[in-house]
């Protein structure tokens, strides 16, 4: 029922992402697109940190790289990451949106166009409003929207804004999100 998963987060989401990547099996049946705010100038280290406990490969994609199942694609620092209709990644250095580059909204919106109702979008702990609008676009395209329970978020601005903006399908704890993801076949 899902052909792709896209996850957005910022402050406080690193541990949840690590937990998710640790739980997903090798040969996970769909691609996992990650858009996490982080420091601009720190180019290396993040993928390596996420990879340590991950069972699936975590990559920072090149521009025009094809999206394949079973791989986690992390939006590179200081680029927007768009999901193109031909299931390729497009990167860009266009203006920051909501002071963010990468912008979660832009990744979510273009993924919604590409995967429509087969897309699962998840917003995790985070410190700004980015992602709320994109999650709404996923719902409008018929996809599924999950928000991490703000009560357990280290920083809840992102999840609370998302809940205000969109009628989501599920509000789940990190553990429940992992369970949900494991049901995707």
């Amino acid at each position: 029922m899902h052909n792709a998963v896209i996850i957005g987060g910022s402050a406080g989401s690193f541990r949840v992402i690590t937990r998710i990547l640790h739980a997903l099996p090798k040969h996970y049946p769909v691609p996992v697109l990650l858009n996490l705010h982080r420091l601009k100038h720190v180019r290396s280290g993040f993928v390596e940190a996420l990879s340590i406990k991950s069972n699936i490969p975590v990559v920072e994609p090149y521009d025009k790289e094809s999206i394949k199942p079973g791989i986690a694609y992390l939006a590179p620092s200081n680029y927007h990451m768009y999901i193109e209709l031909n299931k390729k990644i497009a990167l860009s250095t266009e203006e920051a949106v909501n002071h963010s580059r990468p912008s979660i909204d832009l990744s979510f919106e273009t993924a919604a166009h590409t995967y429509n109702k087969k897309l699962l979008g998840i917003i995790l702990s985070g410190a700004n409003k980015d992602g709320a609008w994109g999650l709404k676009k996923i719902k409008e395209a018929g996809g599924t929207a999950i928000v991490q329970d703000p009560k357990e978020c280290e920083v809840s601005t992102m999840t609370e804004t998302a809940l205000k903006t969109t009628e989501v399908d599920h509000v789940l704890s990190a553990l429940q999100i992992v369970d949900y993801l494991l049901k995707i076949k």
């Binding site: 601009k40 100038h41 180019r43 290396s44 920072e60 994609p61 090149y62 521009d63 025009k64 790289e65 590179p76 200081n78 680029y79 768009y82 193109e84 209709l85 497009a90 990167l91 860009s92 250095t93 266009e94 203006e95 949106v97 909501n98 909204d105 609008w133």
Partner: protein, 276 residues
């Protein structure tokens, strides 16, 4: 958040209108990028829809100059990716320029100028500026005028400063520019060896005997046809052993023409012309 949406058909019509009015051809720019850019321009200039944009482009050459400026995506900040600039400073420039005069560095699309300003500051710190000739092109006349004046956007000074400090511990960025209103102006002495060249969308105006091409985060906006064409023509313009630097997340060996280059230099996406 946005937004007005422009469809693919509208996008094609706008491409056609530009071609008819100005004989400028954007058909090899990445279509989805171009569509996004049109949406941005419609919002930014408060136009009603795609038809209004077409009318404005066709009837108002001054607006079209602004349009071209908006299509050239800013190079974002001074010393973007500090580790690259550190590598250039510590290894690459000294090794390559040593003993040479008239070392031509070409910026085919100089856009908002930060890449060139960064290079000029770096060379000045290395006392190599006088060995170098800059050639900078742009499809936007306004961008080239800004470049000649040394103008840049002050709103990103925080990032510019932070990047600068990661490269130079005992120099001050303030020594290299003055403020005037919203803009910064780079020290004109840094630009004394600068030649500017207006470009078409195929970047056909190409200098000869180029030692280094700075081409970071530009291919992102082109389709494969234009990428291949440019990589081929750059190869012709580079001297033997010349280098091409592309963006951190750009890869050129997808394409046939990319096979003419070898990746060198510690993960910094510096390519060297392969000897044929």
């Amino acid at each position: 958040m946005r937004k007005y949406e422009i469809g693919i058909v509208d996008t094609r019509n706008i491409l056609k209108a530009i071609k008819e009015a100005y004989d400028i051809d954007f058909k090899n720019h990445a279509l989805t990028f171009f569509k996004r850019r049109l949406e941005y321009i419609v919002e930014r200039y408060k136009l009603k829809d795609a038809d209004a944009l077409i009318a404005k482009i066709s009837g108002d050459p001054e607006f079209f100059e602004l349009f071209l400026k908006e299509v050239c995506i800013e190079t974002t900040e001074l010393f973007r990716d500090p580790s690259l600039w550190r590598y250039l400073m510590e290894r690459f420039l000294q090794d390559n320029i040593k003993g040479q005069a008239g070392f031509t560095i070409w910026f085919p699309e100089v856009s908002s100028g930060e890449e060139l300003y960064s290079m000029a500051i770096l060379l000045n710190e290395l006392k190599l500026l006088d060995r170098v000739q800059f050639v900078a092109g742009s499809i936007s006349r306004l961008r080239l005028e800004d470049l000649k004046a040394g103008r840049f956007d002050l709103s990103k000074m925080e990032v510019n400063q932070a990047n600068f400090k990661r490269i130079f511990s005992d120099a001050e960025l303030e020594d290299y520019y003055r403020k005037e209103g919203e803009s910064g102006f780079i020290d004109p002495a840094l630009l004394k060896h600068l030649k500017t060249v207006p470009q078409n969308t195929y970047y056909d105006q190409q200098p000869r005997n180029v030692k280094l091409i700075m081409w970071r985060n530009q291919m992102l906006y082109f389709n494969q046809i234009l990428q291949e064409r440019l990589l081929k023509s750059f190869y012709q313009r580079l001297v033997p052993g010349g280098h091409l630097i592309v963006g951190m997340n750009e890869k050129i060996d997808y394409w046939n023409a990319g096979k003419d280059y070898i990746l060198v230099g510690d993960n910094e996406n510096i390519y060297k012309k392969r000897y044929s």
